[in-house]
């Protein structure tokens, strides 16, 4: 029976990766937020399943935190932000999307390679998911690099957090509760600070384009 749950978690892992790629290729901010929400939902489901399989009750709590924070609260904040800032479209990426995708594939191969020896050591049912988590982190990183607007960058940042969280829950069956709470708090506070930032940046630059933020550099 356990192996079925393992397979479901693997399926969710694949879904997470698919969503990461979808985010990488997405041009619209609204869809990006929805994808982020879907990623949160996948994360929540996988955490709950891991909790069920291993009988570790504290993981139910982290699933709940994920649900509240990443599926409900953060997307709501983001939706509110883009409504208030009145930005719905984001057509620009710094590198065109097919190239980004190709780099993404290379990153996936890289992280799978890196994770293979480790996966063989893990005692958990879901040992192989570590590579996927690493790939998700790197893809989110790539997304941050290739976007020139502030909001997609932040979504990339949050998506990176998702990948890390997935690594924590699925590969190691969850970090201690204190740590998870701390991480959640940091993410939330960071998000609020960034929200304030958006308004200030826009007030100063009349735009949320990060390319305006290029005055500070070495000559």
């Amino acid at each position: 029976m356990n192996s079925y749950y393992g397979q479901i978690i693997n399926l969710l892992a694949a879904g997470l990766l698919l969503l990461s790629f979808a985010m990488l290729g997405q041009r619209r901010i609204l869809s990006l937020i929805n994808l982020f929400m879907a990623q949160g939902a996948v994360l929540c489901a996988s955490t709950a399943i891991v909790a069920f399989v291993t009988g570790q009750n504290h993981l139910y709590w982290s699933a709940l935190i994920t649900l509240l924070l990443k599926v409900l609260l953060l997307p709501a904040i983001l939706h509110r932000l883009i409504r208030r800032l009145n930005i719905k479209w984001d057509v620009e990426t710094l590198i065109n999307i097919p190239t980004t995708m190709l780099i993404g594939i290379v990153l996936v191969i890289f992280s799978f390679n890196l994770a293979l020896p480790i996966s063989e050591l893990a005692g958990t049912v879901t040992r192989s998911t570590l590579g996927i988590a690493m790939a998700a982190v790197l893809l989110a990183f790539l997304m941050m690099i290739t976007r020139s607007k502030a909001v997609p960058q932040v979504i990339g940042f949050l998506s990176m957090e998702n990948g890390l969280f997935f690594a924590a829950t699925s590969a190691t069956y969850g970090m201690p509760m204190v740590v998870e709470l701390g991480i959640a708090l940091d993410v939330l506070v960071g998000m609020v600070i960034l929200g304030v930032f958006f308004f200030q940046i826009r007030e100063r630059f009349d735009s949320l384009d990060i390319r305006h933020l290029e005055q500070l550099k070495e000559d």
Binding site: L121, F197, D219
Partner: protein, 482 residues
Amino acid sequence: MEFFLVLGIPLLGGIVLALIGHTRRAAEYNALFSLLTLIAAINLTVHIVNHGPQLLFQDQFFLDPLNVFLVALTALVGFTTSLFSRPYMRIEHHHGRLTVGRLRLYHSMFQMFMFTMLLALTTNNMGILWVAMEAATLTTVLLVSLYRTTASLEAAWKYFILCGVGIAQALFGTILLYFAAEKVLGHEGGALLWTHLNAVKGTLEPTVMSLAFVFLLVGYGTKVGLVPLHNWLPDAHAEGPTPVSAVLSGLLLNVALYAVVRCKVLADGALHSNLAGVLMMGFGLLSVVVAAFFLSRQKDIKRMFAYSSIEHMGIVTFAFGMGGPLASFGGLLHMTVHSLTKSAIFFAVGHATQKSGTQLMEQIRGLIKISPTVGWGLMLGTLAILGMPPFGVFASEFLILTTAMKQQPWATPFLLMALGVAFASIFGKVQPMVFGESTLPKLPHKPAMLPVFVHLALVLMLGLWIPPYLAEWYRQAAKFIG
């Protein structure tokens, strides 16, 4: 009890100042809280020196010679910075660069920043260490963006994104660490506690640990400002208020490096190879060399000293990477003297820029005429940071260099060359700023030069004579790092 005061006072200070930080006496309250923290820290240090390492609160906190010395240093620099910031922030307010509300934010965040750093230093839990480091990033982001100018917003944004990404790598490293540890220690709590990990470090899986260390080094290394992850550092130093630059350089970099060192101890135990040391030496040396060459191209005085911080952090990282009692001793000493000297320099620079109304070095001239104390403070601080005897930086750099000649002879020419380049660039730029002609008026508030000279006096003392108990303490810590 001694311990909880150290954490409790800045936390309380952060909350209280969030409420009353806008009042006229807020700066004094800020200094008062910092003073109380310092007293608590000294008390704690004496306690640890007398009673040896301690585990507290279900092993969640751990105090040993390594971190208690950093706690004391952090509290000291925090206190002197709060003294310096009192007139400095008043003048900024007077110049209209800050509103009262921003001052409240500043005071509150200053205390919160102290709290997060002290938490990062004292926690035994590698996960909490990460949380505290991230929280320190968040508070300093708010501090860097305090002026709300385009440049400061840009610097803060860069700082947030780069350090956020960096620290996310550190989280991944922490997860890998836990992954390696839970097989040995089991799920029940203890697998992230450093002391528990240290006890079983020989049995941790080497493949996982090497990967974990790489991620941790890259993650916390971003906060140390190691090249090539250093891009945020000059911007954040240059655009934030000067007291913030002082604590960033003097304290935050140390705390981040402390995190790296803790991880290195574990990695060394698990790997039976010198991978961790080699990586740290590589990053360290690269930082020293690159920073030294960037120094000569700087026009902004705070940026220049920010690069100097990168250089010195590179030296310390290199020293810890070499390992061995002598190098680690040198590294710890260099950490101490650098943080004292660099914060003193930033204090002096803060007043110098306020007097001249600019951070561009070409336009700062004749400081010694406008205010002899500021001029001499900057000059002496510069001499000290450049490693002139008899200051402490000379002693520590000498120690590190001689050890390098013995253990890693290939690295010495690079180090010597970088130090030479740094000397030429910094001295060549500071000299005309201090001497030379100027017709600038006086400032509305008297500058606080006491912290500068206290720091420099301490550095001078460390150069001439290290008190025996301090030396013993360094030796213990160095043995610990290995």
